[in-house]
Structure formats: structure tokens, C-alpha cells
């Protein structure tokens, strides 16, 4: 897809979502924000996965972002939406750039386990801090927007619009990243680390970049989630939360930057209805879906879209075109 088309699609989708926001019922507004917030985290997970790296501890940054927002309000007296989200961004950037120095040396299962250990340590520390409400966490007041104090409904709506814009920006930047040499270097790294090294680039550099991107998107997602939930707790750093993010990343697929958003929406849909259908046995449904996806849709739901698109395209032109396409159309395994 040419660059221009993509830009137009992104802008149109963001505007559409914002417009729809005016007629959504309350629960759907909230659900959409939390889908966007989680999807932001999953974008990072997917970016790492495209480099062949799976983080079982992305909850760490999700939690850091949320606590940055919470503590910023509680102790620094920052109340503005933008200020708080900026704080989340900085927190993710700083912690990610420090821990990234350590994590960039690890691969595969060791990366997964080490990231898990780090997030569990944060969970432990927060669970010990009674000042911050221990495992019960604490409540966050609704933010002001550009200095204005709004009613709860309006504040929610403002957060909604902000979430749409933020997601649009992240998708746009993410797509640029994936198409850049550094983005391709990630794929290259997953395919063949030896070759990357012999092309004169340190694999650590590539992983570090991915790690930074992932920690920033995760902390932004965490910050957004904190603002919309109004309450945060250490369980955001618990390993099962990170497991959920990976689940969603697989569900959506990693072949496109927007796939995590579709994945998260589908995941929330499945989870909600599984909970309603079988309050005692919804985990069976989730487990079966997970295995089903891995067996039958190894490239995630997004592969349905792209194969559909392929079909349409080949139907139009009669035969698959041989011209070099700029679109990166491929699955992840």
C-alpha cells in the first residue's frame, strides 16, 4: 500500500473513531479506551516479537506507566491529562533505556524469563509499600483537560478522544518504524542474527531500539489505563497480565502495526462473552481459543484481512502482479 494511502487511512480511521465516540453508550466508550490502552502495550509486544523476542514481563512498563500517572497526581500535584501522560512517557523511556542495557543481551526463553523476573520484582516491591496501598493499590482522580475541570462524563470523553489520537500517532510512527531500515533489521534479526552481525550492526542495538519502543508504548498504555480505570494496583505487573498481552499479540498477529488493535478488540469480546457464557469455565474457552489460533492462524487474525485483500487484488488484475510492492506482506512464522 503506498505511503499516502496509509496516511489517509490512518487519519480517516482516527477521525471516524472520534466521531463515533459521540454516540457510543458509556460502557462501550470505556471498553474502547481500555482496548486502545491494552493495544498500545501489545503494539510493543508485537514489535519485540517481530524481532524474534518475546517479553513475558511487559506488565512491568504497563505498571510503571500507570504508577507514573498515579504518583504524579498524588505526590507531584499534576492533574492535567497531557502532563500525566507525558510523565508516563518519560517514566517508560527512562526505565526502559536503563533496563534495556541489561536486557539487550538476552534472547529467546531467557529474555522471556528475565523480563518476567523483573516485572515480578516490581510487583513484590509495590506489594510491600503500604504507603501506596499495597496490593489494593490506590484511586486516581479524573484528570483535568488543558487546565479545565470537566464532569466525569466529559472527562471520560476527553480521555476517549485523547486515546484515539494517541493510538493514531502510535500506529503512524510504528508503521514508519517498521518500514525503516531499523524496522527491517528487526525482522532480519529474527531470521538470522549471524548475518545481521556480519553486516556490521550490533544485534543489541536493534533489540535495544525495540525494547525502548515497547517500554514506551507499554507505559503509555498503562498511563491511559490508569486514567480511565481510576484505580491502579501492583497486579498490573503480575506475570499473568504480561501473559495476556502475548496472548493478544498472537491473536492479532504481528504482521501489521494495527493488528494488535484488532487482536485486543477480539480478545475483549471473547473474554467478556466467555465470562457471561460460562462464569465457571471461561478459562477453557480462552485456552481453546489460544491453541486454536496457534494451530490454524499462526499469523493471527490479521492474516485473514491480508489474505482477503490479496484475493481482491488478484481478482482485479487477473494475475498476481510482479512489480516490487512496497507493502510488507508476510506472516510471522
Amino acid at each position: 500500500m503506498p505511503e499516502k494511502n496509509f496516511n489517509i487511512t490512518i487519519i480517516a480511521a482516527t477521525l471516524l473513531l472520534i466521531t463515533v465516540g459521540f454516540i457510543l453508550p458509556g460502557w462501550l466508550t470505556f471498553l474502547t479506551i481500555s482496548i486502545l490502552a491494552k493495544a498500545l502495550v501489545v503494539v510493543g509486544v508485537a514489535v519485540l516479537m517481530r524481532g524474534g523476542i518475546v517479553s513475558f514481563g511487559q506488565g512491568l512498563y504497563y505498571c510503571i506507566g500507570a504508577y507514573a500517572v498515579g504518583l504524579g497526581g498524588k505526590f507531584l500535584g499534576i492533574t492535567d491529562l497531557l502532563g500525566l501522560m507525558f510523565l508516563a512517557l518519560v517514566a517508560g523511556l527512562v526505565s526502559g533505556s536503563l533496563l534495556g542495557l541489561l536486557m539487550k543481551r538476552y534472547r529467546e526463553i531467557f529474555f522471556a524469563m528475565f523480563s518476567l523476573a523483573l516485572s515480578m520484582i516490581l510487583f513484590g516491591v509495590l506489594s510491600k509499600s503500604q504507603l501506596l496501598g499495597s496490593t489494593d493499590g490506590f484511586t486516581i482522580v479524573k484528570p483535568t483537560i488543558l487546565g479545565a475541570t470537566l464532569s466525569t462524563d466529559n472527562a471520560n470523553h476527553a480521555i476517549y478522544i485523547f486515546a484515539c489520537l494517541l493510538s493514531g500517532i502510535v500506529i503512524w510512527l510504528g508503521q514508519r518504524y517498521l518500514r525503516s531500515p531499523m524496522g527491517f533489521a528487526g525482522e532480519a534479526l529474527r531470521d538470522n542474527e549471524v548475518r545481521v552481525e556480519y553486516l556490521g550492526v550490533a544485534p543489541e542495538t536493534i533489540i535495544y531500539t525495540k525494547y525502548l519502543i515497547a517500554s514506551v508504548t507499554a507505559s503509555l498504555g498503562g498511563g491511559l489505563m490508569a486514567l480511565t480505570l481510576g484505580h491502579i494496583g501492583p497486579e498490573m505487573a503480575y506475570w499473568s497480565q504480561s501473559g495476556e498481552f502475548i496472548f493478544i499479540a498472537l491473536l492479532g498477529g504481528t504482521s501489521h502495526i494495527a493488528a494488535p488493535f484488532v487482536g485486543t478488540a477480539v480478545f475483549e469480546f471473547i473474554r467478556t462473552f466467555a465470562l457471561e457464557l460460562a462464569p465457571n469455565a471461561w478459562q477453557i474457552i480462552l485456552g481453546v481459543v489460544l491453541i486454536f489460533i496457534i494451530i490454524f492462524f499462526p499469523s493471527g487474525i490479521w492474516s485473514l484481512f491480508s489474505s482477503l485483500k490479496e484475493k481482491l487484488r488478484s481478482g482485479e488484475s487477473g494475475s498476481p502482479s510482479k512489480t516490487p510492492s512496497v507493502d510488507l506482506k508476510k506472516g510471522d512464522s
Binding site: E3, L173, R176, Y177, R179, S180, P181, M182, G183, F184, A185, E187, A188, D191, N192, V194, R195, V196, E197, Y198, L199, G200, V201, A202, T205, I206, T209, K322, T323, P324, V326, K330
Partner: protein, 259 residues
């Protein structure tokens, strides 16, 4: 004339096994060297040490007067030594052109750009030029996974050429390629290499190829160099004939698990 690469007393032990013992080699500009030796003789170990993949147990490697003994592969590459691999090291899920473009953009800078697109006209042009040089431009849009062995080998070498090395190490460029295609492949490789003016060292089992392309031969046996000199002389040496040339006729295609 000064050598571009000086290898001094290079040794590598794996536990009690001596994979390479006391290797001394000088390589000069414009040389085309063939490295011969039976499987396990230490040829690949030698290449791996020079390119930073393996740390030598002792000894020194100087390249253009700089000590590169402790360099990791990426620094060796940036210093100007590139290599190819016995089993082509490519990005199998990407297309040939993408492989080339990644090679170009990664060699361009140690910090590849994060927001500029990989695909741009200049990189594509450069990539096509190299692909043409190696006669594989017709595969540009094919995924690597679908390529024949010979094309993979050429792409592997083409990617090594991107950073314009002054020394090129080719690890069995013709292994895995059907016997009747070997000469054609080597012609293409040498054609591409000669244009760049890099000194070249290649590991080879086929003595016909060695004779035809190399002007110098280094013979390895059990981790040591047993002969080093002009091609014709080395191939006539009795020890080389006894230990390597004779054996290799029997084991020509057995390169899969070479040490």
C-alpha cells in the same frame, strides 16, 4: 609491500582438541587464495577467528596494521573484512531485493535510521546493481525461501560485498551446488569480486576450481598449515597430495558438518 592481513601464532583449543594450532599467514592486496584441507582441518575455524565469530585461544590478528584480535564480527566487518558462509546466511522470510536493501542500509550506519523508509530509489538502484553483477537480478522479488542453492550462495556473497571490503573470505562458495554448475557460479562470483578489487580467500574442496581461480593456496591439516605458496607448487607437494588432494576426491561433497 605491507600485508593487509597478518595472522600471528593463532591457536584455538576446544578443551583438549586443537582446532587450530600456531597459524601464521600474511595476505596481500589483490591476492586470490584458496584454502584447502579435509573436513575438520581447521579451515572454517580459521575464518571464524579472523572474522570475530570465535575468540582465539592465543595469537594475534592484524588488519591494515590495526589489532582486530578481540573484535566482534560487526567491528571486523566495519574494518573491511567480509565473509560468506558454508550454509548461506540470509533472511529467508524476506525477498531477495529486501535482503539486499537491508544489507545496504545496515552497512550504511551502525545506527540504522528509525523513521526513514528502507525502500527508496537510491537503495533499490544500488541493490539492483549488485544483484546484476552477480547475475541474480531476475530473482529480486522472489522470497529467499524459494531460491535454489546456487542463487542463495550468490546472494550470500553479494550481501558480503555490499560494504566494499578490502578482504573477502568465502567459506566453500560452491558447496551444495550441482557439480556442473560450479564453474558457472565461480565465474560469476569472481567476476563480481574482481570488480571490487578486494583480496579474496576461499575455502574449496574441488581442486579443479582451486587450480583455475587461485593464485595462491594454503593447505590445512589437523589444525595446522602444512603448505602455503603459489597454486601449482602447493598442489604438487607430496604431503598435500597424500593428506588432502587424494582424500578430497573421495569426500568432495561431505561438507555439511565441517568443523
Amino acid at each position: 609491500m605491507n600485508p593487509i592481513l597478518e595472522v600471528k601464532n593463532l591457536t584455538k583449543n576446544f578443551g583438549a582438541v586443537v582446532a587450530a594450532g600456531d597459524i601464521n599467514v600474511d595476505i596481500y592486496e589483490n591476492e586470490i587464495i584458496a584454502v584447502i584441507g579435509s573436513n575438520g582441518a581447521g579451515k572454517t575455524t580459521f575464518v571464524n577467528m579472523v572474522t570475530g565469530y570465535l575468540k582465539p585461544s592465543s595469537g594475534k590478528i592484524l588488519f591494515e596494521d590495526a589489532d582486530i584480535t578481540a573484535y566482534p564480527p560487526r567491528k571486523v566487518t566495519r574494518a573491511g573484512i567480509c565473509r560468506s558462509f558454508q550454509i548461506a546466511q540470509l533472511f529467508p522470510e524476506l525477498s531477495v531485493l529486501e535482503n539486499m536493501m537491508i544489507a545496504f542500509s545496515l552497512t550504511a550506519s551502525r545506527w540504522p535510521s528509525v523513521l526513514q523508509p528502507l525502500r527508496n530509489n537510491k537503495t533499490a538502484e544500488n541493490s539492483f546493481t549488485v544483484l546484476k553483477n552477480f547475475n541474480i537480478d531476475m530473482y529480486a522479488n522472489d522470497p529467499v525461501a524459494s531460491l535454489a542453492q546456487g542463487v542463495r550462495k550468490l546472494l550470500d556473497i553479494a550481501m558480503a560485498m555490499v560494504s566494499k571490503p578490502s578482504l573477502l573470505l568465502l567459506d566453500e562458495p560452491t558447496s551444495g551446488v550441482a557439480i556442473e554448475e560450479k564453474f558457472e557460479l565461480m565465474d560469476t562470483v569472481m567476476n563480481g569480486v574482481l570488480q571490487s578489487g578486494a583480496s579474496t580467500m576461499f575455502i574449496e574442496h574441488d581442486m579443479d576450481i582451486v587450480e583455475r581461480y587461485a593464485n595462491r593456496v594454503i593447505a590445512f591439516y589437523e589444525g595446522r598449515i602444512i603448505a602455503d605458496g603459489p597454486t601449482a607448487e602447493v598442489l604438487q607437494e607430496p604431503t598435500v597430495k597424500e593428506f588432502i588432494v587424494g582424500e578430497d576426491i573421495a569426500h568432495q561433497e561431505g561438507g555439511g558438518l565441517n568443523a
